[in-house]
Symmetry: C2
Subunit: 563 residues, 2 copies
Amino acid sequence: MKMRIVVIGANAAGAKAASKAKRLNAQAEITMIDRGRFISYGACGIPYFVSDAVGGVKELMSTMAGVVRDHGFFQKVKGVAVLTGTEVIRIDRGAKRLGLRNLASGELSELPYDKLILATGSTPLVPRLENVDLPGILTVKKIEDAELLKERAVPGGAACIVGGGLIGLETAEALRQRGMRVTLVEMRDQLLPGVLDPEVANLVQKQLRQQGVEVRTGTAVTGFAGAQRVERVVMGPRELPADLVVLAPGVTPNVALACEAGIGIGPTGAVAVDARLCTNDPDVFACGDCCETTHLVTGQKVYLPLGSTANKQGRVAGINAAGGAATFGGVIGTTIVKVFNLNVGKAGLTEAEARRAGFDVETVLSPAPDRAHFFPGAKPILLKLVAEKGSGRILGVQAAGEGAVDKRLDAAAVAISFGATAEQMAQLDLAYAPPYAPAMDNLIVAADILKNKLAGEARGITPQEVKRKFEEEEDFILLDVRSPAEHNEVGIVGAKLVPLGALRDRLGELPRDKEIIAFCKISLRGYEAQRILSSAGYEKAKFLDGGILAWPYELRGPLEEKK
Amino acid sequence: MKMRIVVIGANAAGAKAASKAKRLNAQAEITMIDRGRFISYGACGIPYFVSDAVGGVKELMSTMAGVVRDHGFFQKVKGVAVLTGTEVIRIDRGAKRLGLRNLASGELSELPYDKLILATGSTPLVPRLENVDLPGILTVKKIEDAELLKERAVPGGAACIVGGGLIGLETAEALRQRGMRVTLVEMRDQLLPGVLDPEVANLVQKQLRQQGVEVRTGTAVTGFAGAQRVERVVMGPRELPADLVVLAPGVTPNVALACEAGIGIGPTGAVAVDARLCTNDPDVFACGDCCETTHLVTGQKVYLPLGSTANKQGRVAGINAAGGAATFGGVIGTTIVKVFNLNVGKAGLTEAEARRAGFDVETVLSPAPDRAHFFPGAKPILLKLVAEKGSGRILGVQAAGEGAVDKRLDAAAVAISFGATAEQMAQLDLAYAPPYAPAMDNLIVAADILKNKLAGEARGITPQEVKRKFEEEEDFILLDVRSPAEHNEVGIVGAKLVPLGALRDRLGELPRDKEIIAFCKISLRGYEAQRILSSAGYEKAKFLDGGILAWPYELRGPLEEKK
């Protein structure tokens, strides 16, 4: 008898699992079931469909060659049967049968399976707030949502995004590009918590403000108000007028069906699976946004739903369901998002995550152009490296800037996957020519700084720590070692100017017992100054991590030229 | 007594070595010696200075902050003394003294050292051809060369580049952008031999032709002719008019000084060094273009001079000379070059190199857009993977296209450094969002195909092999499984059309005993067709590696619409 494989959910993970299973086992009968009208669409493209960067639904649903991935496509090309508009209402694991309901007709039916793949995806969280069901309050997940959002997004209207995560940021950009006035409200005191450390998240906030998006962090939405439809967002005692609200506080895995059938749920709330993506039932697999995975740096179970992971998992689930053998190791939390002109993301752990996981960490902030600085079009990017102190192992990398952030994240992601140390990262043979990278790639420079820090030669101090010293009026010297021209153009209030070239001759001006914190544009000269001071017996000499370019706080504007 | 470190050569490697040594050992007296007028300039930027993409010499010589790296800069900022216009004429290793000559005055002097660092660089090879010293025949290496070249590059004039390597290609572009008629002559039968396999190199040749550069491969220049200056390039019986000739057949390490002093030269002809970059004299180190290094994939000694390697090596030599301890592991041959709109390069070994090194190899050709195909601005790139058959270890990756080639090369370079297998590459957690990558990154798709091939599920055949079958009039069926519209637009002459969606129903048209080679645009459908055929008992079913997009030979144009 032919093997019957049923896949619940016909998007990234499900479609991949079904297609792969069929390719591997041509004799198997494969059926995909989905509640929606659209299947196998590029859900991650939805914000760009909202902004009109992507022209239409058809593009999101097409293959590279322009073929629409619909029923007929899966049936004829992939050899996979598809039931859309169909809900699975019950999994009877004993009898190996599914209970189905046609959403249009209400008709009930049953479908037997030999192997079952759960690819039920996730749903946007809807916080239980007062009047959250008022018309005009939307979520963004499905194509239907996006179509509604485009209808409601009136140029000049006021939109409020609740949640400063990936979807919130992408939607803020999309609505701004449709000409709306946009306010983004985030409960936590920074954007992209869980993806970025605060000083990197600050760059995102700055970018949003530059692009005319109002940002309110540390602000909890408590409810909504309006007569026929939403008119105001309520935040405790304050209110904000809004014609349109998008809820983007995150997503939750769709596990109800699995739960009811007694399929194991993990500590993250998503379906628990082993490396073969098998659930606690040997005939039931799970993949994509409905299941949890392993973080390869911490070894912990995590819930990090992403389209890239879903595709990899779909392949593995499909192979195993079809009788093959494949495993999915896990993820390292790689994340990237475009926020207007800023590219920003991470691979591995943030400093906060690393500390929470119990690592003793060293960090580096390193800003530099993304290609040879003399090459036209070179753009700055800021790297933050997080490493384990004893071993020098790289635990995480964050990157932000207008330049090629994605390239450094990918190279870092591979390095982190293989447990690279600072020493190994510093010696990577990365592709160099002036149009692509500086002769010393940003990652290599950052790794060298990290090595210098781990060896005790480079003594950095974070911007946060310097800010605290100012606030607590500690007695220290902040030493600007740039040129007078650079110093006059932009600076940090309270800094003393001694250009690096003059430092050796002007040591007399600097008291040996005081803490001296040197900086320049990127703190390469700042570091050289610290080395000069340390060698001259200044035991408390330090340099400011990342210099002016990584300083996340206010800078002073041009000084008047001295006569 | 203060330690005296002398560095011969004041460019990438030398300048880095000197600066690092001083930072580590502030008490050391460091002297850099260079024959040239300019020091510490971005030599790799010279072609872009020729094309005027980089405005001036000053930009090539400046730091990121705009400070010119001249004598004063090294003395004041770095604490390093510099002697320019000075030639080292002798190394007396016994007495630890250098003999110097001032190139302007002819004055001789001596300089003692405790530790010596050779960073003498490389020189363009000048082939011994008839009349090679005629005026108008230049090389491109130093800023002085570039200035001369710009002077001689008259719009409308005829330039001939001898050599299709990196410098040859970059110079061809630069001169074309100055409005010259450019012919590039390469002795070997492909461009970039040693960097690309022939089918990838073909894309470079195509790009050059599209940009109006005439390319003659397999053509040896035998000499030059002209009265007062070069007028013609002689290639055996043929001649080519030329107002300007650039010799770019490669570079040779500057080892004469080291040789005379009895410092060991390796099998590549460059200075032999150990992992500490120490020569056969424990007080003499070498770094940059004058020394050889180890290829980490083959374990062989190689001569691969590059600015990125020079900087890393300079740091290591500087540390060791200053009394510290550092090692340089080696390289994996990562190379990248911009050829007009094409980005192209490699990491690890080409197929040819891998076979020469004795590996049993499997390869993949995988063309795909560089980001979500629905995202505006997505551009195609072609990847070629070379892997070891038994272990699945990735030995090399080549990439070419208008899209983000550099990103894939860097990620691949890291993976190859860590000995990644196809399985490991397929599971990399690379950064995904539609503006940056497809949900399944190009590298992951290519690794999946490789896995399918290694597992015997995917049976590919190279374009070269199909071409051979046509030429030898073998009896086989080339099966186009695209849609009729795609088939009509562009195709391979001699192919039979059976769209993938109809294949299961039309198996009757295909004889089971014949070799059937399926293809589509990128050979994903081609692969699916092979799976369908294989499952239906067609034992000789294959798919064409990389499909239409990777087909390096002629394609037929639009067919007339059938009535």
